[in-house]
């Protein structure tokens, strides 16, 4: 069913009774060309692009819960391509371009809202770092603007310019950055994949891999075994525990990132604002809630919940830059389990087991990557060679000494 204003109008007149399910609820077949493990953003977009761009439609996405129950359903929805390193920046810029045409492409309004992202700088070295990054962005064909204090004041007069412990000295602004209605991304990709014949199998946990003579032949699931020519894992926060079933240890730890939403407020801030002298970033959802977050809790966990020190730290950061939010109430806090990699950058790669592929290590930044990750993973699965923007995202890069460490904090995931 194609969506349009006309369709909404026609349905309204007939009591909204003629809508069709966005996806079928199929039982898994015995065998597929590709089984994608994980029905999050990346799994669904991979399926979508496999079918749409590479003509591979004999595909199943196997999801242990409901579609979009993982990090795609709980992230702070920021999209941007303001990366520094050549192993990353072209990939994220590809992703941003895909976002820009996404809704027309999959006929679903995910409310891609490009109202800009503002990274505040509070000292000279930070500003120098942003300059280096802004230039890297421009050189990769992205957009970037370096703002001075006056420029920021004009854009966000309510920031604390006068009484701040760490005064605002400048900012890197990416006008094309912004937010997207996260759940709708999963639904749009899911619907698009389903329409092209992909089986989306919910409530079907993958419990093991069928590995025979070093070749992966399929998966064991809660709904029985499924054979597959290729098994493509993209389970984000569950990467460690899933790949352990294939006997693999990964350069990944699972950590919780909390996020927060305030009660609904009339328009308060445009776009995204990030604090540079503490852990706080914020945007406003289309429902009016201030959606904000900060640092990860910092300890290994698979529980989708965090603790108070980070809650306080994040709110302190918020009050430090925008003390007018003091009387806004925090409505809900939640957590998501993230696949924190050893250098803060992701993997889209084959494994040493033939037929088994891995996509993960997205840390707190994989939402923005959803389109490109799906596109590049589909490329790898269909052609068995990496997409040109994802050649560095290899599992063996630490062995070879080719880290992609944007933050420069080394092999300690909780610092990335």
């Amino acid at each position: 069913m194609r969506y349009s204003a006309l369709k909404v109008f026609a349905q309204a007149l007939t009591g909204n009774k003629g809508w069709k399910p966005v996806w079928r609820e199929p039982e898994p077949k015995a065998e597929y060309d590709v089984v994608i493990v994980g029905g999050g953003g990346h799994g669904l977009s991979t399926a979508y692009y496999l079918a749409k761009e590479f003509g591979v439609t004999n595909v199943a996405v196997v999801e242990k819960g409901w579609l979009g129950s993982g990090n795609i359903g709980r992230n702070t929805t920021i999209i941007r391509s303001n990366y520094l390193l050549p192993g990353n920046e072209p990939f994220y810029e590809l992703s941003l371009k895909l976002w820009e045409g996404l809704e027309q492409d999959f006929n679903y309004n995910a409310m891609v809202s490009q109202r800009g992202i503002l990274n505040l700088a509070h000292n000279d070295p930070q500003r120098d770092g942003y300059a280096r990054r802004g230039n890297a962005m421009l050189m990769a064909g992205a957009d970037a603007v370096l703002l001075d204090e006056d420029g920021i004041r004009e854009m966000c007069p309510y920031l604390d310019f006068d009484n701040a412990r760490f005064p605002i000295r400048g900012a890197l602004w990416q006008p094309r950055g912004g937010t997207v209605r996260h759940d709708a991304v999963a639904w749009g990709y899911g619907r698009g994949a389903d329409q092209r014949g992909v089986d989306l199998v919910q409530n079907c946990e993958v419990t093991g891999f069928q590995i025979e003579n070093g070749v992966c032949m399929g998966v064991e699931t809660a709904k029985g075994p499924i054979r597959a020519k290729k098994v493509a894992v993209c389970v984000a926060g569950s990467s460690g525990r899933v790949m352990a079933k294939a006997g693999m240890r990964l350069p990944i730890e699972s950590h919780v990132l909390q996020a927060f939403v305030s009660e609904g407020l009339k328009p308060t801030i445009p776009g995204v604002i990030t604090f540079g002298a503490g852990h706080f970033y914020v945007s406003q959802s289309d429902k009016g809630g201030l959606v904000f977050g900060g640092d990860i809790d910092g300890y290994n966990t698979y529980a989708q919940r965090g603790n108070l020190p980070v809650v306080e730290d994040v709110c302190e950061g918020g009050m430090a830059i925008m003390p007018m939010i003091g009387r806004a109430r925090l409505l809900r806090m939640w957590g998501g389990v993230m696949d924190m990699s050893m250098d803060g950058s992701p993997f889209i790669d084959r494994t040493h087991i033939d037929g088994l592929y891995f996509n993960g290590g997205w840390c707190y930044g994989g939402f923005k990557a959803t389109p490109a990750s799906g596109y590049c993973y589909a490329h790898l699965l269909a052609k068995d060679e990496p997409h040109p923007t994802a050649t560095e995202m290899r599992l063996d890069r630490f062995r070879r000494g080719h880290m992609i460490d944007e933050k420069g904090v080394g092999a300690q995931p909780n610092l990335h």
């Binding site: 525990r241 350069p251 730890e253 290994n300 966990t301 020190p309």
Partner: protein
């Protein structure tokens, strides 16, 4: 969270700084033939278990002890807390 410090009793986790898997105690021998590979595994690869996890916490705002905490990554329940130095010494003896 609360970490029941072996010397000081229950203390808020915010006094501590987290490092990671307690296997970081087992630093490889730099002179073995495949030292580079061993160091790669030591520094980069993780069991990352869903369940019991032995991990290193530093009591930075306390007695400056490194602790090995055994904690479930599913429930956060802590079942054991040891001084890392004791753990390190006993591992050496085991070798």
């Amino acid at each position: 969270m609360i970490i029941n410090h072996p010397l000081l009793g229950p203390r808020d986790a915010s006094e501590f700084t987290y490092l990671g898997d307690a296997s970081l105690i087992d630093r490889p021998d730099w002179q073995t033939d495949n030292a580079q590979e061993l160091f790669h595994e030591y520094l980069y690869l993780r069991d990352n278990p869903a369940g019991e996890h032995r991990e290193l916490w530093f009591h930075e705002q306390g007695d400056r002890s490194w602790l090995v905490v055994t904690r479930s990554t599913l429930t956060h329940e802590i079942t054991k807390v040891e001084l890392a130095r004791d753990v390190a010494i006993s591992r050496r003896r085991d070798e």
